[in-house]
Amino acid sequence: MKKSAFFGALTVAGFAAAMASAGTLDDVKAKGFLQCGVSTGLVGFAAPDSNGNWAGFDVSLCRAVAAAVLGDPQAVKFTPTTGKTRFTALASGEVDMLARNTTWTFSRDVDLKFTFDGINYYDGQGFMVPKSLGVSSAKELDGATVCIQTGTTTELNLADFFRANKMKYEPVPIETNAEARQQFLAGACDVYTTDRSGLAATRATFENPDNYVVLPEVISKEPLGPLTRQGDDQWSDIVRWTLNALISAEELGITSANIDELAKGTNNPEINRILGTEGNLGGMLGLDKKWAYNAIKAGGNYGEIFEKYIGEKTAIGLSRGLNAQWKDGGLIYSPPFR
C-alpha cells in the first residue's frame, strides 16, 4: 500500500492504482476504523445531522459492517463522494467500501472491476416537476430542461429515454444534490431526474414539498447496493453477509429490542447460527463469533433501519414496495445462513 500511496501523490489525478490483492480486512483491523464512501448529503440515505454525525439508510450499512468487523459501530470514517468521484475513491483504496446509492450495472461490475455485494434498495429512475408546470407524464417533457447528476446511470437512461420517445431535451449536468436543488427551485431547470428514492429525499427538504410532484413513469431499474474492489473476496463476503444478516434478521424477527434475549440461545437453529451461539460462521469470515450480533445491534435489522430513516413515518415517506421481504411480496431476500 505504501508504494501505491507514494505513487498516488505523484500522479496529478491523485489516482493510485491500488493493489486489489487481499488485505482490506487486515487494513481495516490495523487502522481500527472503516473508511466508508457515502454520498455528499442525501437526507435519509446519508447526511450529517446537526452534530456532524452521519446518519441514514446507507450510513447504517457502514456502521453495521464496522460493528461486524471491529465490534464498534462508531468506528467509521465517512468520505463524502460525488457521483463522479466515488469510483476513483474506491478503486484507489481511499475508501474500503462504497454505500452510496450506486446502481449495480454490468459494466461497473465487469469493466470497472468492482464487486457488488448485494442490493439494499430496489429503485428506479423518475422525474420530479413543479406542479405549476401542469405536466402529468414524462412523455410530455419534449423540449424541457433537465437537471441530472453527472457521472450516474441516470444520465445514460435519460439519453435513452428521450431518444426512444423521439423527444428533445436540454441536459444541465450538476455534481451534487445540493446544486440540483438550487437550480430546480429557481426554475433554471424544469425537471429534476434521479432515482425515485433520491427524488423523495430531495423533495422532503423543500420548503413546500406539496408544490412538486414525482411523475408516475419509472424509466429504469436501479438496484442500489454496497460495492467493494474486485479481487478481495474475503472483504466482499464480509460486506455481502453483513447485509444478508440484516435482511435475515428482519425475516427471522431479530430486532434490536429482542436481540440480547435471542442471543442467549433459541430453538431456531438459523437464529443461533447468525447470532453465533451455534456453529462458527464468524470464524469462516475471519471475524468474531459475535459479528452478526454486533451488526444487527448497531442499528437494528433491515426493516428497522428502513423505517427509521426513509420509511413512511419519516419526511421522506417511502413505502416498502419492492423493498419488502420476499414473503411480504417484495424482492428483499437473503440466502440462508448455513
Binding site: K3, S4, F7, L10, T11, V12, A13, F15, A16, A17, A18, M19, A20, S21, G83, K84, F87, T88, A91, S107, R108, D111, L112, K113, S132, L133, L141, D142, G143, A144, T145, T150, G151, E155, L156, L158, A159, D160, F162, R163, Y169, E170, P171, V172, P173, I174, E175, E179, Q182, Q183, A186, G187, A188, C189, D190, Q230, G231
Partner: protein, 416 residues
C-alpha cells in the same frame, strides 16, 4: 630540439571522474540523469503493474465506443450514440470557446482597469484598487459559483415570460432568462449548404463566404488607403477616398447578405423553453464573466507595472511636445509598456485557460467535464482519460505561449 614540451600525457583513470574537475560536473549530471530516469521508469512500471493487477491495462479502445450521454452545448454534430472521442472534441471546442472569450474580455478589462488605477482621480484609482484586491484575493472557483448563483436567482425563469412577469428586451428580440440569454440568430434563406470536413464536422459555406468577402473588402480598402498615402507623399495633397473605402467595406457584404437571403431568427417561447435564436447558456455566461473579471484583476496589475516601468521622462517629453494625456498614453507609454506587460500576460492567458477546467462547477461541459468527467466515470478509465486530458491542456498552453512569444519577439526592443 623543440622549445616547448608536451604536457605530461596522463592516461585516463576511473578516479578522475570524481577527482578531476574537468570531468566531475559531467559525472554528477550523468548520475543525476540516470537516477531521474530510473525513478521515472519505476513510477511508470509501478503504474503499469498496478493497473494490470487491477485488470485494467492501459488501452484507449474505449474512445471509439458509444458515449451514451448528451451534451447541451455542442458546435459540432453530436448525440448520445457518438463515440467518446467525439464527446471529447465537443468538450475541447467548448474549452477553446471559453478560453478565447475569457482572454479577450480579460485583456480589455485588465488594460482599462490597470490604466485607471494609475488615474490621478482619487475616487477612480481607489475604486480600481478595491476591485483588483477583492477579485484576485478570492479563489476563482468561488467567483464562478457566486456568479452562477446570482444568475440563477435573480434572472426570471422562462415560464415567467408566459405569465407576463418578465418580458423580452430590445424590440422583443432578446430574452434574458436564468437559463441563459437567447439572442437572434443569422439565417440564410438561399443557403449555400455546408462543407463536410473529412466527415468529422461541417462548416457553413455561408459563413466562409461572409468571411471571404469581408477579408477581400478589407484588403481592397487598405489598397485604396495605401494609394492615397502614396499620392499624399508625392504631391502633398490627400485625395478624398473615405466614400470609396466605406463603399468597399460595406457594399460587397450587403450584396452578399442580400443574395444569400439573410434574415434574423428570433427566439420564441415555445413549450418549456425559448426556441430559435442562439442560446448563450447560463453556465457559459457565468463562467465567462467570472474568469474574465478574475483574470482582469491580475492583468490590470501587470499593465500597471508595465506603465510604471516606462521612465517618467518619456511622458514629460511627450507633454513637452504638446501631446494630450490620451495621446501620450496611446502613442508613447503603452507601446513601451507592452514589452514589460506581455511576458506576465502570457502566464495570465495560460492561467485563464487552465482555470476554465473548473467549468463543471456550473455545469459547463468543457473537456474536463466530458473526457475527464462523464467519460472517465462511465468507462472507469482514469489513467487513460487523465493522460489525454493533460496532453490536451499541455498542447493548448504551449500553443498559446508560442503565439504570445512570437508576438513578444515582434514588439520587444530590437537591439542591433
Amino acid at each position: 630540439m623543440s622549445a616547448f614540451t608536451d604536457p605530461p600525457k596522463e592516461s585516463f583513470r576511473l578516479g578522475m571522474l570524481i577527482y578531476d574537475t574537468r570531468y566531475r560536473s559531467m559525472t554528477i549530471q550523468i548520475v543525476a540523469l540516470i537516477a531521474f530516469l530510473a525513478g521515472a521508469a519505476w513510477l511508470v512500471n509501478n503504474a503499469a503493474n498496478n493497473l494490470a493487477a487491477l485488470g485494467k491495462p492501459l488501452q484507449f479502445s474505449f474512445l471509439w465506443e458509444p458515449s451514451g450521454y448528451d451534451i447541451n452545448q455542442r458546435l459540432i454534430e453530436y448525440n448520445s450514440q457518438s463515440p467518446h472521442i467525439r464527446a471529447a472534441f465537443v468538450g475541447l471546442i467548448n474549452t477553446l470557446i471559453i478560453a478565447v472569450m475569457g482572454c479577450t474580455t480579460a485583456t480589455i478589462l485588465g488594460v482599462v482597469i490597470g490604466v485607471l488605477r494609475l488615474s490621478k482621480n482619487w475616487l477612480v484609482s481607489k475604486l480600481m484598487t478595491v476591485y483588483i484586491e477583492t477579485f484576485r484575493n478570492v479563489p476563482v472557483l468561488l467567483w464562478i459559483v457566486f456568479t452562477m448563483a446570482i444568475f440563477i436567482e435573480t434572472m426570471p425563469a422562462p415560464r415567467e415570460f408566459r405569465s407576463g412577469a418578465a418580458t423580452m428586451k430590445l424590440f422583443d428580440s432578446v430574452a434574458f432568462t436564468n437559463r441563459g440569454f437567447y439572442i437572434p440568430e443569422p439565417l440564410f434563406s438561399n443557403s449555400l449548404g455546408n462543407i463536410d470536413v473529412f466527415g468529422i464536422f461541417k462548416i457553413s459555406n455561408d459563413l466562409l463566404a461572409v468571411i471571404a468577402v469581408l477579408v477581400v473588402s478589407f484588403l481592397l480598402q487598405r489598397a485604396v488607403k495605401r494609394r492615397a498615402d502614396k499620392i499624399q507623399e508625392a504631391t502633398g495633397i490627400r485625395p478624398v477616398t473615405w466614400w470609396q473605402r466605406v463603399g468597399l467595406m460595406f457594399i460587397p457584404i450587403v450584396v452578399l447578405l442580400y443574395v444569400l437571403g439573410f434574415h434574423l431568427g428570433y427566439p420564441e417561447l415555445k413549450g418549456f423553453n425559448f426556441k430559435g435564436g442562439i442560446h448563450l447558456r447560463n453556465s457559459l455566461i457565468s463562467l465567462w464573466i467570472a474568469l474574465s473579471l478574475y483574470t482582469a484583476a491580475f492583468i490590470a496589475e501587470a499593465v500597471r507595472a508595465g506603465i510604471m516601468a516606462v521612465s517618467k521622462g518619456q511622458s514629460e517629453a511627450a507633454f513637452a511636445l504638446g501631446l494630450t494625456a490620451s495621446q501620450t498614453m496611446n502613442l508613447v507609454i503603452l507601446p513601451q509598456a507592452l514589452r514589460v506587460i506581455i511576458p506576465p500576460l502570457i502566464s495570465q492567458y495560460l492561467n485563464l485557460t487552465k482555470n476554465s477546467s473548473l467549468a463543471i462547477a456550473v455545469g459547463y461541459m468543457d473537456i474536463t467535464g466530458t473526457l475527464a468527467g462523464i467519460t472517465l466515470n462511465q468507462t472507469g478509465r482514469e489513467m487513460e482519460t487523465l493522460i489525454l486530458l493533460m496532453l490536451v491542456y499541455l498542447t493548448i498552453s504551449l500553443s498559446i505561449s508560442s503565439v504570445m512569444n512570437w508576438y513578444n519577439n515582434a514588439v520587444k526592443l530590437k537591439e542591433r
